[in-house]
């Protein structure tokens, strides 16, 4: 795969992508602002949300054990996976044991993170994506570009063309309603005919063993209740102590994501079908996935585990808004992705991500659980510097500059020489092209430096 810069350049050159990202992120930014304004003391609510997450992350072991015991008591089976491969292997084994030829999947970022779609394909199991956006991504054979709207990079026009090409009985009219009907015709029968339903979890509730899932389309309910077997894959950090905590987090999640008071469908699944229940799966399995989370907690990224995957940080990020999600190259895009991807994929291959940020702090300002994303990104920059992953030119440049800057007399001499050299280039007050500063002057002019530095002028004035 090409590097970050190439992917970003390609994204910048795509005018349709820009329109698509702007439509969705812009709308959600505006709606969130209205919702937050109307929320009494949102700041206190954020503080509480962060505290809830911090508490469980500090006591992950006991809460997970409590969850396991309650889930088992409710009739579910609990499995533990250290790695992504282990998690996929467990899911595939469960599908095979159920004799499944097809599975209905309700969108989950953890599924993407562990590579489940690919693993199912390799195992020869037909996968029906039931979330509309995931369905679009599956048809286009692409990866999600956003954690809430996986297909946000596509315009309505592009989706329409895709449906026409791939649906058995596509829409005739160019309306959203007709397009949705087309997807419904395509998906509904497959959903209901699936042997196994697979979902993620927004929250795992420790004291009742319930799994909470939110969707805007009701596809989770449709794809998880009819099949004989329901499999949940969830990151271990999704735990909350009890229902009131889950409700608090839900209020934060929905408003931060879309500005809505609540997501359209919020369902709590507690164990499989019980005697006398009219519907529900016969078996419920919950796969608890670590995949680097314990390591993140122990190695300085505990705050990142607060993340409830609302997407506010990316919607408000000036960089994401220009390049979209695919440029980030990992499962998770935007600021949260820039922090998570090096932990998941290794820093050497992803060091660009921590740098491709202006550190403007907006992501932290909007994060409902107050994750200090800029600080965590700076942490990656530091690690990258320590491990010698930064380019030599950068190391030398900064080293030389710091050598001078820690010697004020040398520094003054150096700036005086540099000022003179640079001033020779600019004919007016502006410099349109400066060697060694192409990154600046390619797109903007550089004001000419003053004839003499402040320090030089000030000292002369003092001597008068």
């Amino acid at each position: 795969m090409s590097g970050f810069t190439e992917r970003a350049d390609a994204a910048l050159a795509d005018p349709i992508l820009k329109i698509a990202v702007e439509r969705t992120a812009g709308t959600s930014e505006a709606k969130r602002a209205i919702a937050i304004d109307a929320f009494p003391d949102f700041e206190a609510a954020r503080t509480r949300a962060a505290a809830i997450k911090d508490h469980v992350i500090a006591h992950l072991g006991p809460y997970l054990e409590q969850f396991e015991a309650s889930a088992i008591a409710a009739g579910a089976q609990v499995h533990w996976a250290q790695t992504a491969d282990e998690a996929c292997a467990i899911v595939i084994a469960l599908c095979k044991a159920a004799g499944a030829k097809s599975v209905a999947r309700s969108k989950s970022m953890l599924g993407e993170e562990i590579g489940l779609p690919h693993a199912l394909e390799e195992a020869g199991i037909v996968r029906v994506e039931t979330d509309l956006a995931e369905h679009i991504i599956q048809l286009a054979d692409e990866r999600p570009s956003h954690i809430i709207w996986p297909a946000m990079h596509k315009t309505r026009e592009q989706v329409s063309a895709l449906f026409r090409a791939k649906h058995a009985n596509p829409h005739k009219e160019e309306t959203i309603a007709a397009m949705a009907q087309s997807a419904r015709r395509e998906l509904r029968a497959k959903m209901l005919g699936a042997d196994v339903g697979i979902s993620g979890a927004n929250f795992l509730i420790a004291d009742t063993g319930a799994v909470c899932t939110v969707t805007n389309e009701g596809n989770a309910e449709l794809s998880l209740v009819p099949p004989r077997v329901h499999i949940v894959t969830a990151g271990i950090e999704k735990i909350v102590p009890s229902m009131p905590h889950a409700i608090h987090m839900l209020r934060m999640l929905a408003r931060s994501a879309t500005g809505a008071a609540l997501t359209q469908y919020t369902t709590f699944y507690t164990g499989p079908k019980r005697p006398g229940d009219r519907d529900g799966p016969e078996e419920m399995h919950i796969v608890l996935v670590d995949n680097g989370r314990t390591k993140m907690r122990d190695e300085g990224l505990a705050e990142m585990l607060r993340c409830i995957r609302c997407g506010a940080c990316m919607n408000h990020c000036v960089v994401f808004r220009q390049i979209g999600g695919h440029a980030y190259g990992g499962t998770y895009p935007g600021p949260m992705g820039a922090v998570l991807t090096p932990a998941l994929d290794g820093l050497a291959a992803t060091r660009d991500l921590a740098h491709a940020c202006t550190l403007n702090g907006k992501c932290q300002e909007v994060c409902p659980v107050k994750i200090p994303l800029p600080t965590l990104l700076k942490g990656w920059r530091e690690k990258s510097w320590r491990e010698g992953l930064e380019p030599t030119s950068m190391r030398w440049g900064l080293g030389l500059w710091a050598f001078a800057a820690t010697r004020p007399a040398l520094y003054r001499l150096g700036t005086a020489i540099a000022i003179r050299a640079i001033r020779l280039i600019g004919r007016t007050g502006w410099i349109a092209s400066l060697p060694f500063a192409g990154g600046w002057t390619k797109h903007r002019d550089l004001p000419k430096p003053a004839a003499r530095s402040f320090m030089a002028q000030y000292q002369q004035e003092q001597r008068k």
Binding site: Q322, T406, Y411, Q457
Partner: protein, 251 residues
């Protein structure tokens, strides 16, 4: 109230636009302060800090602390450098019992200039007039690390004849980001391009902000686009120096 204040001029102001340093002195003196410029200063170390080069950041922080700690207050014409000293120096020395108290002491008495004039001195420019329309960009570090938003606007309001045109997305980053703009020039350009368009659509004559880095970025883009909007650090206007050359104009 007379205060002895030390001016930390910032490396960018020192080299690119000394006028901002002199404007800061002028405004502080008008507010009744005695200003000194400690000679041991160069740069607060932000470029190293933001690049992950912790050792050099610490070396520069120590130099800056040593130069500034003898004074009653330290005033900086930049939200991002003031933010570095106030918010990040104490973090840098978190595990250094010798330097931590010194870093904290300096952090506590370091102020961005407009916040200092407005909040500490309770001062407003008097007899300053400039018939123009200006728009103001809230630079990110000052805004989010130090809460600078109302202070510059209050000071600017006291200027006779100056009217303010609101800027859509005034709190949105301009894409400067220190080394970001040279490391990822294409992304930075896309961001500042949108910012420049927003500035142009205000119809203002002047663009103001509190950080020279952001100002150079936005002014450089506006100039490349052929715009006639002139850019100043807000303190220049507040100090009555708004009739001089704007950024990129020869004196």
């Amino acid at each position: 109230m007379t205060q002895n204040v030390a001016l930390f001029v910032t490396c960018l102001v020192d080299v690119m636009r000394p006028r901002i340093g002199f404007a800061t002195i002028r405004a502080l003196e008008a507010a009744g302060c005695t200003v000194v410029v400690p000679q041991g200063q160069t740069c607060c170390g932000q470029p190293a800090l933001n690049s992950g080069d912790r050792d050099h950041a610490i070396a520069l922080a120590k130099q800056t602390i040593t130069a500034l700690e003898p004074y009653e207050a330290i005033v900086v014409p930049s939200g991002s450098c003031a933010g570095t000293i106030r918010c990040h120096y104490p973090e840098l020395f978190e595990h250094d019992p010798d330097w931590l108290p010194r870093a904290q002491a300096v952090a506590e008495k370091t102020f961005e200039v407009m916040a200092y004039l407005d909040e500490v001195c309770g001062w407003k420019p008097e007899g300053v007039s400039l018939p123009a329309t200006a728009t103001y960009h809230d630079s990110c570090s000052g805004l989010r690390e130090l809460g600078i938003k109302a202070q510059p606007r209050r000071l600017l309001k006291a200027i006779d004849g100056l009217s303010m045109a609101p800027l859509a997305g005034a709190e949105t980053c301009c894409g400067f980001g220190g080394t970001f703009c040279v490391k990822y020039p294409a992304i930075s350009n896309a961001i500042v391009g949108e910012k420049a368009a927003a500035i142009q659509s205000t119809g203002a004559d002047l663009l103001l902000a509190g950080d020279l880095g952001c100002l150079m970025n936005m002014a450089g883009k506006l100039h490349r686009d052929g715009s006639k909007i002139r850019a100043f650090h807000a303190i220049e206007l507040i100090a009555g120096m708004g009739d001089g050359p704007a950024i990129g104009e020869e004196a």
